[in-house]
């Protein structure tokens, strides 16, 4: 059997795939955070809760309305994103003129409300969401066994990341968004409806989180607390990468997933802390983050 540093190749590749899949989630979530931060300048602490809401919407939609996975993948981001639009319009907008720390605190309060409410109705143990039939099973690649669903998650998450990149860097709407990130007052003077743009941007960021939630539903137990611990890791990823660039967020997310996966192979005790150690290292060597560009 082929060995890599004393570990069988199949085990190595298996953990690498797991790491990549986790990394895809880090990428999707940190991307959403970066998009929201760019225009609104707030850190969306409810991002983890909105990811969780995505997973729950898929679960409940299937249980009570018979909405299948593919429809959920399309509908849930729209519904949760619309919810995000309401949050921005009626809550976040009212404190937009204040210190941006208030945005962090407000979204933290919202996260507590969402999480606490669902814990009361569904407990913390977590429910299972069935993998769609077509994605069950796996592919035997000769040197490893690749579960189809994980491969699909990787493809779907990366496609979504690329779609977001394309929207922001190559379309007119994206150009508005980038200009608004630079100087929203000037944009408004040019006649662009900036408040609407802000609302839609927040909705889009939330929709990204919900999309990640639907992707995660068949992989992890769907529980009200699934988002909060993940979010803290994503914060660390954001600090490592800096929120300056879209591509930076994607690359950092995937890289951190891989590092986490490799740590699971060689030093499992540190697997849930390694990303925080990387963050500390980055803070010491390059405080603005790998892709950051603040002064």
């Amino acid at each position: 059997m082929t060995m890599i540093f004393g570990v069988p190749l199949a085990v190595f590749m298996g953990q690498l795939t797991l790491g990549l899949v986790n990394g895809a989630f880090y990428a999707l979530l940190s991307l959403g955070l970066a998009v929201i931060f760019g225009l609104l300048k707030i850190v969306n602490f409810a991002h983890g809760a909105q990811y969780m809401l995505g997973a729950f919407a898929a679960l409940l939609g299937f249980r009570y309305l018979g909405i299948n996975y593919w429809l959920a993948l399309f509908l849930v981001p729209l519904v949760v994103g619309a919810f995000g639009v309401l949050l921005e319009r009626f809550l976040l907008r009212r404190i937009a003129h204040l210190d941006h720390l208030y945005g962090l605190l407000l979204t933290f309060g919202l996260a507590l409300i969402f999480e606490g409410t669902l814990v009361n109705f569904f407990g913390v143990s977590g429910a299972r969401y069935a993998t769609p039939e077509i994605l069950q099973g796996g592919l035997n690649l000769g040197f490893m066994f690749l579960p189809t669903y994980r491969a699909w998650v990787l493809v779907a998450a990366l496609a979504m990341c690329l779609f977001t990149w394309f929207m922001i860097e190559r379309t007119r709407l994206g150009a508005y968004l980038r200009a608004g990130t630079e100087n929203s007052q000037l944009m408004q003077a040019f006649g662009v409806n900036v408040p609407l743009l802000i609302t839609l941007t927040y909705g889009f960021g939330v929709a990204l989180a919900a999309f990640a939630g639907v992707l995660a539903a068949p992989l992890y137990p769907v529980s009200p607390t699934m988002g909060s611990s993940l979010l803290i890791v994503v914060f660390a990823v954001v600090v490592i990468g800096g929120m300056g660039s879209i591509l930076g967020a994607i690359i950092t997310g995937l890289a951190m997933g891989i590092i986490e996966g490799l740590t699971k192979v060689y030093y499992p005790e540190a697997s849930n802390t390694v990303i925080f150690f990387v963050m500390i290292l980055v803070l010491m060597l390059r405080p603005v983050g790998l892709f950051g560009k603040e002064a």
Partner: protein, 331 residues
Amino acid sequence: MMTETQSMAAPSAVLERQKRAKFRRNMFYLALIVVGLVAPFLAYPVFLMKVLCFALFACAFNLLLGYAGLLSFGHAAFLATGGYVTGYLLASYPGLTPELGIIAGTLLATLLGVLFGVLSIRRQGIYFAMVTLAIAQLVYFMFVQAPFTGGEDGLHGVPRGELFGFISLSSNLAMYYFVFAIFIFGFALIQRTVHSPFGQVLKAIRENEPRAVSLGYNADAYKLVAFVISAGLAGLAGSTKTVVFQLASLTDAHWHMSGEVILMTLLGGVGTLLGPLMGAGIVVSLQHILAQSPLGNWVSVILGIIFVICVLSFRSGIVGELDKMYRKNFK
């Protein structure tokens, strides 16, 4: 987040007014101390001790947010470090007196504060919040895995012992007065810090960092010292809490705890000396009352709602709003 205005009156008049204000303040503190001394005969001492421990925790947090403008989302790490160190030492070395255990816990939390501080003040604003949250999560995982913390179970049956080797703390009344003394010490230290030249520079940095730097102040050093004092006092609160309740658990290290202390400070009034005390009193009472009511499971939802209301329309907090009212109507 709060600014103090000073008018440009004649120096002697200003001096006179400051003197009067100082006198009023001292009388007020004296009254508070009297209330604190009588309180255990009017209310359940264990409940009061809980309030005092969390009040000290919130005061320590407020020193950082209210006077240095730094929002730490990782203060639970210091509370838990103080608690675990004190709990472990007192449980494993029966000869150790509680005050030494508390001092050891506080010292270690202070040391952790130096480490945290050096790393996190490299970033500002929301990044500072995210960095502190992430490092605190790292500390949390370490407590989960470390052999001396008892993992998910925590440490139980920590002996209260005898203060200085001869005052038994097993009675709640004796324990209360010890906790009260610790709180007064912590509060006085914060009060001194805030009203010292150091505190003034800290406020200057909060209001306009580039300007303070251009005036020759080493902003990072000031922030670091504030961070370390705040961490040490949070550790003191955790150590004391462990002695009172004779246990240390992961709840204290969880990020929910970091959120709770923010809520206490925000509700009471950020940047006011008495706000955190009041906020801690209200939040602890609320948890106490809710736990016995049918709404027991809704505590975190209710705290979240209070959070949202505070941010949307009550940003000065209770003490801040009272202060505003007083200024408007009586001055």
